[in-house]
Structure formats: structure tokens, C-alpha cells
């Protein structure tokens, strides 16, 4: 069965999106971490063509990226509207759960690889 969140919290201060899952697990995602893993077709293609590398002069950036808002997609996913206007990524709950950056989940992923 699909993983289901109980609450999804956009934590402005902490620059984090925090999910409390129905099974009690907690995931805290930094905004940049989520944006770097946007599952939309454009981002996946761009990523495949030329992996992003930090440039020397980030002077044209408009401050750190953050979600303006997030909406549920039916019962199975989350759509994030980023402050730069990007919003085509639909993050399924399963995908988010697989991305969980907590130490326990990291370790479990390392084991599989």
C-alpha cells in the first residue's frame, strides 16, 4: 500500500517541509533537497543532459528557493508551487517516503545499494 502522510508542514523558519506519516515516522526535507529532486519531466531531462554544478557567481538568484504553497493531488501526491514559478513536479507520497533524509532511511538505502 501507498505511504500516507498525516500532516504536511511547510516550516518557513526552518526552511523545511516536514511530513508526519500515518505510521508515525517523521521526515524533514530541506527545500533545496526537494527541489533538486523534482520529478517533473523537464527537471529529469535537464538533470540527465547536464548534471547541475554550483556556478561561481550566484548573483542573479533571487534569494533562497522556497515553496509558495503546496497542494494535494487527489489522495496520492503533493504538488509544490516554488517561489520561482516552477510547479510541474508531482511528488507522490511513495516517492517522498523513499526520499526521506533521516539517518535510519539513509542507512536502509545504503544497504540496498
Amino acid at each position: 500500500m501507498v505511504s500516507t502522510p498525516r500532516t504536511i508542514r511547510l516550516h518557513g523558519e526552518g526552511n523545511e517541509l516536514v511530513i508526519e506519516w500515518a505510521d508515525g515516522h517523521h521526515s524533514a526535507f530541506s527545500y533545496q533537497y526537494l527541489r533538486d529532486r523534482c520529478p517533473c519531466a523537464t527537471c529529469l531531462d535537464t538533470e540527465a543532459a547536464a548534471p547541475w554544478e554550483p556556478g561561481p557567481l550566484p548573483m542573479f538568484g533571487s534569494g533562497p528557493l522556497k515553496p509558495e504553497k503546496a497542494e494535494l493531488v487527489g489522495r496520492y501526491a503533493l504538488q509544490i508551487y516554488w517561489s520561482d514559478g516552477h510547479s510541474t513536479g508531482i511528488y507522490t507520497f511513495d516517492y517522498l517516503r523513499d526520499l526521506c533524509p533521516c539517518d535510519g532511511c539513509e542507512a536502509a538505502r545504503d544497504k540496498v545499494q
Binding site: G12, V73, G74
Partner: protein, 355 residues
Amino acid sequence: MSKRVSPQQVLEALKGVEDAAQQKDIVSLGYVKDVEVASDRTVIVIEMKAAAPPKANSQLAAAIRKAVEAIGAPKVEVEIATPSAAPPKTQSNLIPRVKATVAVASGKGGVGKSTVAANLAVALYRQGAKVGLMDTDVYGPSVPSLMGGKQEPHVVEGKLEPPVEWGIKIISMGYFLPQDEAVIWRGPMLHKTIQQFLGDVNWGDLDYLVMDLPPGTGDIQLSLSQTIPLTGAVIVSTPQDLALDVAWKAIAMFRKLNIPILGIVENMSYYVCPHCGVREEIFGHGGAREAADRLGIPFLGEIPLDPKIRIQSDAGRPIALDLNSPLAEAYQAVAKALSDQVSRAGEEVPQIITE
């Protein structure tokens, strides 16, 4: 020509009818909601306090009819409404006052989805629920013919007012197209239509919004599943392996989209020969029940293959309206099983909190 009977006389006659479960007459129990006596017919509306099995209801209806006909009232019609289990609340901004949304789906076409959807809507209504019926089959809308009526939607204060047939609010692409026109659209247009059917129609307060889906796992299914958090899906299948194999695809889709499967209905389950009474299992029998068991999905019931269903459907009067018909009882049983599942499918929709 019999002498005109007054509503008071009817009420007096009803005092002689007992509710078997309560052992008290139905007037002092407060069941009688409305009595109407016209020159050619008498309508008695009964509202039960608790849900009763369809059999008990039809026995009560028969007893009422007998008592009221005895005093010479013309053509007695009895309507019995029973409260159904309260469904959980759907959280959607588009339809904030709709408590439960139920998609009626199948893998394969031609298994009787629309007929099942229309009759389920009627059966839920007869159990006392407020029901809407949304025909999402944009290409082949059949709900307007199934439900009969000549009304059309009209716009009131920027919202579409849906026609009401047999007590049920209905919207369908069929209302917007001449008979000989076809909808020839790609996905984005379908998506927009689904959103409009949800958000631009004045559904009002509903206990159930039943949605008749087209066959398959395509644009419309996906749009619907993304636009609102559906309470659940009912899968309709005929008993043969071919249909069940494809039904599995629909189930897989809903599982992927995290939409609870409320159960499977086996349609065209068997045929009773009107001449000799022999039960013929044309497509095999029990396949859906076995599949449900195997997949761990509730089995909601079986509906026989009966020409009466086809005749009533073509005439725009769903069979579930008929009191005392075993076919209507079959639909009542499925509706009861469905409302039980809906009240249990109360898995909360995740909450988004912005700080």
C-alpha cells in the same frame, strides 16, 4: 368510482400497521412523514429511524398497502426512507458540502457500469441519503437516458443547476450535446470538463456523489483522481475471467493512486429462465466473489442478468425504484454493503499546514 378518502382516514388506517421489530404501530413511532391523497393515487412516505433490511421494508410496505387499500384509497404507493450510515467527510474545496465521492469503474467496457451506477444512486437515495450522480463518461454519456426525464441543466448565479430525476441530482455531457453529435476531444479538454462538473455544478449538500466512469485507466480516471480525494472506488465486473482479468487493471490503478477500493459488484451474475425457472450461469458465476477474496477486497453483491433491467433502463426508470422487486432488493443489498464500506473508508486525507 369510490368516494374520496381523506388523509386523516389514511392515517387512521396506518395506526393498524405495526413495525415488526418495534412491535408498535408506525404512527405512534413517528414513521409517517407524509400522506397525499389525489384522485388517482395515494402516496405515503415513511421515514424509518434506523436502517432495516430490504426484506423487512418491503413487508412493511405490503402491510401498509393492504391496510390503506382496505379503506378504498386509490392506487397506493409507499415510499420508505431509512437513514444510512453517515459517510465521512471529503476534503475538497471544489465540492465542500459533499460527504463521500464514489467512483464506479471497470476495466472492460460493457459490463453495466452506468446501469449499476444509476441504480446504486437510486438505492442509496431510497435508504434516505442525499445523492448526486455525475456521468464522467464524456464520450458515451448514458446516464440521462438511464434516469429518464426531459429536464436540462440551467445556469443560476453563475453555477449550473443540475436536473433532478427520481430525487437525484444529475450532470452529464449528454445534456449539452444533440443526440447526433459526438465529443471528439483530447485529454486537456476532458480534464477541464471534469473540473467543471465538480466545481461549477451546484451540488449542494450531498451524502454521496456517485460517479459513473468510462471503462479503462485513462485521462478521465486520472483527472478525477487528481482533482479530488475520492472516498473510494466500486469495481463492476461480469463473472467471466476475461472481464475479471481486465478489472484487475482498474484495481491496480486505484491502488497506485491511493484510492480505497470499496468493493466489487458482480453484474450479469446469472439468468433465471422466465419459462422454466432454471438458473443459467451465462458468464459463469461467482468469479467476482472469488477474485475479491483473493485480492482482499470486499464483495458487495451480485446483480442478475434480467431483461427487466434492460427494459426499465431504456425507459428511463431505474429498476431500483421498484418496490418489492427482487432486482431492486439486490441493488438495495449492494447499496447497504457500499454505505458500510464508505463509513469505514474514513482514512483521513493528509492535512497541509503552512507556517
